[in-house]
């Protein structure tokens, strides 16, 4: 094994298409997430423009429904999920002291599958109309009878493909965190972000199969004429709601938990104080995840499940307030007695706390079924979930991006612009969504494309729209900041915030391909901080310097994803009537689907038949780089 295999090292575009390096895949996730976040943001601004005044006719009713559907779907599945995965990819292996993830190949496959699913979904805009039944796609509105374009097909197939990618990513991170931790890093010494990534991945594992089934059933209804949700033939629309929310509620915790993790990293660093109540934080995270699977029907109080179900789900939902409260107070007491520094990252993290608490208290109010009969499907709900998802998750993501940007790119984002971003975004956010609580209480339902005057909605909607544009400016500033920073020279210190506590700050920014020359020995929670306090400059290595085995880059994940993409398109149009006879031939006979699947399974076969021996970075090379550094 000592002898090194020669390996093709790609340059430029090919390098990015074939990379299996978690740090590069993290950047790819960030780019893809940024793209979809931008698309979702533009959709949001169009929605707000349409609602700026009563009886507005900027967009048609149909277009508006497409906009809200795509805004929700894009933001949830394609906008914030990949940014979460970007941070997880960029940080988790470093935090646990690993050279890579457990399955570099799967990591790449997960990304490309996700990306092609997202592209497929967004192609709907130019291929005959976007989905229009809401991001929840309640049946029968989303069945063939009432949604006659291919929009919902793009939704079902695109999300299945993107979901597959997410699931693969989730399993990869679970395995990575379980088996790849550095010596000495027990579960109870893992950084909080790693913990939340672990729990989030577990939730992905258990929640995504449910939505996959739901989407398969809806696809079968729409394409194969099955009757799962066809009322006339015995199907049940309520069943769709259950399946959707059995996935859907865990999904929102999948989103928020990583934000909790980011906050738990950023606040201690900038307060120069260890996380208060680490064990109770871990416990609270697990409890939230567990309860998250038992509250789904609180989205269905008005469906009419009956008093027993409504009472049960009311109580289980309220219980979630307890572990969440634990977290809030732990963060506050982390800062208590510390030395809080107001960097851009920390501003977002601190801003997260009151904002998220506001989303939390409206959540408890919604948890009460009798009150929800009034609140449900109004702008009160819209305000609530934007407070937790934007005020919670997106604040958390911005905190994380500012915090780890130097580790990912070797450059610190401009702090002054960063602070402007925060204030614009935060003020815009509250302007947009705070007033929506009152709109909801006054009786404005969600998902209406316009509203009659004289209901007292006009001014508040105008304020909301103005706020949305302020948020938009904040996001543009962030974009500008990243571009500006990219023009600056690389080369920040290993620990640019000077108070880094975890392993990622012990290595170069950005880290070498192999992350750790020698795997570090972990002696306690906040491993790096512990060494610092003991007066050490570096971690104690847990192994002698030796050749490092690296996985080979490969194009197969990309090809496999292209195959799935083709099969998905083929599936969608299999019942379409084409004027072109060649198109009818290949689509109506499932030839396209078969070609797509052959590409995918063929690549899988290739992967199985030809072992990847990888390649080695030799000791001499490592030492050379050591000298250079």
């Amino acid at each position: 094994m000592a002898h090194a295999h020669s390996v093709k090292r790609h340059k430029g575009l090919m390098d990015w298409l074939t990379t299996v390096d978690h740090k590069k895949i993290g950047i790819l996730y960030l780019l893809a997430g940024g793209l979809f976040f931008g698309i979702g943001g533009i959709e949001a601004l169009l929605i707000r423009l349409q609602l700026i005044k009563p009886m507005n006719d900027l967009v048609s009713a149909q277009t508006f429904n497409e906009l809200i559907t795509m805004h929700g779907t894009t933001m949830i599945f394609l906008g914030v999920m990949p940014v979460i995965f970007a941070l997880m990819n960029a940080v988790i292996p470093l935090q646990i002291g690993a050279r890579d993830v457990a399955f570099p190949f799967l990591n790449s496959l997960g990304f490309w599958t996700f990306l092609f699913g997202g592209i497929l979904l967004n192609l709907s805009w130019v291929m005959g109309g976007a989905p229009d039944a809401g991001w929840t796609s309640y049946t029968p509105l989303s069945t063939n009878t009432y949604s006659t374009t291919h929009g919902v097909d793009f939704y079902t197939i695109g999300l299945q493909i993107a979901g597959l990618g997410t699931l693969i990513g989730g399993i990869n991170f679970l395995a990575t965190i379980i088996t790849m931790r550095a010596p000495g890093m027990s579960f109870m010494r893992m950084p909080m972000f790693t913990w939340t990534a672990f729990i989030t991945s577990a939730m992905i594992l258990f929640a995504f199969p449910a939505i996959t089934v739901g989407l398969v059933l809806l696809t079968f209804d729409r394409i194969l004429g099955a009757n799962f949700f066809e009322v006339a033939n015995g199907g049940s629309p309520v069943l769709w709601q259950h399946i959707f929310w059995i996935f859907g509620h865990p999904e929102v915790y999948i989103l928020i938990l990583p934000a909790f993790g980011v906050i738990s990293e950023v606040i201690p660093t900038f307060a120069r104080k260890r996380l208060f109540g680490y064990s109770s934080m871990v416990f609270a995270t697990i409890l939230i995840a567990f309860l998250g699977f038992m509250v789904w029907a609180h989205h269905m109080f008005t469906t009419g499940l009956g008093p027993v179900a409504n009472a049960l789900f009311s109580i289980s939902t309220m219980l979630i307030a307890v572990p969440t409260g634990i977290k809030i107070f732990n963060w506050l007491f982390t800062m208590w007695g510390g030395q809080v520094r107001f960097t851009a990252a920390n501003l977002f993290a601190i801003g997260f706390i009151p904002t998220f608490v506001m989303g939390g208290v409206t959540g408890v109010m919604l948890a009460s079924a009798p009150a929800d009969y009034q609140f449900h499907d109004t702008y009160f709900v819209v305000a609530h979930f934007h407070y937790v998802i934007v005020g919670g998750l997106v604040f958390g993501l911005f905190a994380g991006l500012h915090y780890w940007w130097p580790k990912m790119f070797g450059r610190v984002l401009n702090e002054t612009i960063g602070k402007w971003e925060f204030w614009l975004f935060a003020i815009g956010f509250h302007l947009t969504f705070f007033v929506q609580h009152f709109l909801g209480l006054m009786g404005m339902q969600r998902r209406i494309f316009t509203y009659l005057p004289n209901q007292g909605f006009d001014t508040l909607n105008l304020v909301s729209t103005v706020g949305a544009f302020l948020m938009g400016v904040g996001v543009l500033l962030f974009l500008f900041n990243t571009i500006l920073t990219a023009t600056k020279p690389k080369g920040v210190a290993n620990d640019p915030w000077e108070d880094g506590r975890t392993l990622e700050w012990t290595i170069a920014s950005p880290p070498a391909e192999y992350n750790f020359k020698q795997i570090p020995l972990v002696r306690g929670i906040d491993a790096y901080w512990k060494e610092k306090m003991a007066g050490n400059k570096e971690m104690t290595p847990a192994e002698p310097l030796g050749p490092i085995h690296m996985p080979s880059p490969t194009i197969l994940p990309f090809v496999m994803s292209v195959g799935i993409f083709i099969a998905g398109l083929g599936m969608m149009f299999s019942k379409e009537h084409f004027s072109n006879s060649f198109m009818s031939l290949i689509f109506n006979n499932w030839i396209v689907v078969i070609i797509g699947l052959l590409i995918t399974f063929g690549s899988m076969l290739l992967r199985s038949l030809f072992d990847d021996h990888g390649w080695h970075i030799e000791v001499e090379e490592l030492e050379e780089e050591g000298v250079k550094a």
Partner: protein, 207 residues
Amino acid sequence: MTSHAETVNGELPHEPEKATLEGRNKILSFWLFLGGEAVLFGTLFATFLALRNQTNDGPTANELFQLPMTAAATLILLVSSLTSVFAIQAMHKHKVAALRVWLMVTVVLGLGFLGLEIYEFAEYVTAEKFGMTTSAFSSAFYTLVGFHGAHVAFGVLWISVLIGQLYKKGLTVVTAPKVYVSAMYWHFIDVVWVFIFTVVYLLGKVG
């Protein structure tokens, strides 16, 4: 991490599937995957249970199902599960030839099961006028049992590819985890079938 030392000395360890970190990772994450599969099939079962009485004037479970055929399918799959246990035992004893034979028996039994299922479905569609579009019950039935059937088909293909690799590459620390994982998959298929014959067929007969 002792994995490297074990592969270097050239001799295959007792449990070759767990000799390398890659192998152990593979097995662990396959378990995780099976946890997700449990939810997948759980949701399909839930769908079936919710729609089991929605027959829309089409055939009902009681009219449709023939116990002898289900019993035969059950026996075939159960035996194939046992043969894949034998395959793993052969692997642990480094008897590559026996391993290949047991895997082949498993594949043949899997094909037998698939044949029975296809025959059953064809019978329902032609003789009983019970197709995917007949009723909500029929959709749920074909989707649940069909998903399981697709899993069996994939398993058959997968194990066949592995048999080929065992001929070409022999039993190594790279091929062993693959064989082990495929056996886990095969057992899981059998576990799902236990629930299918109970919930779909037997409880369908009970009504």
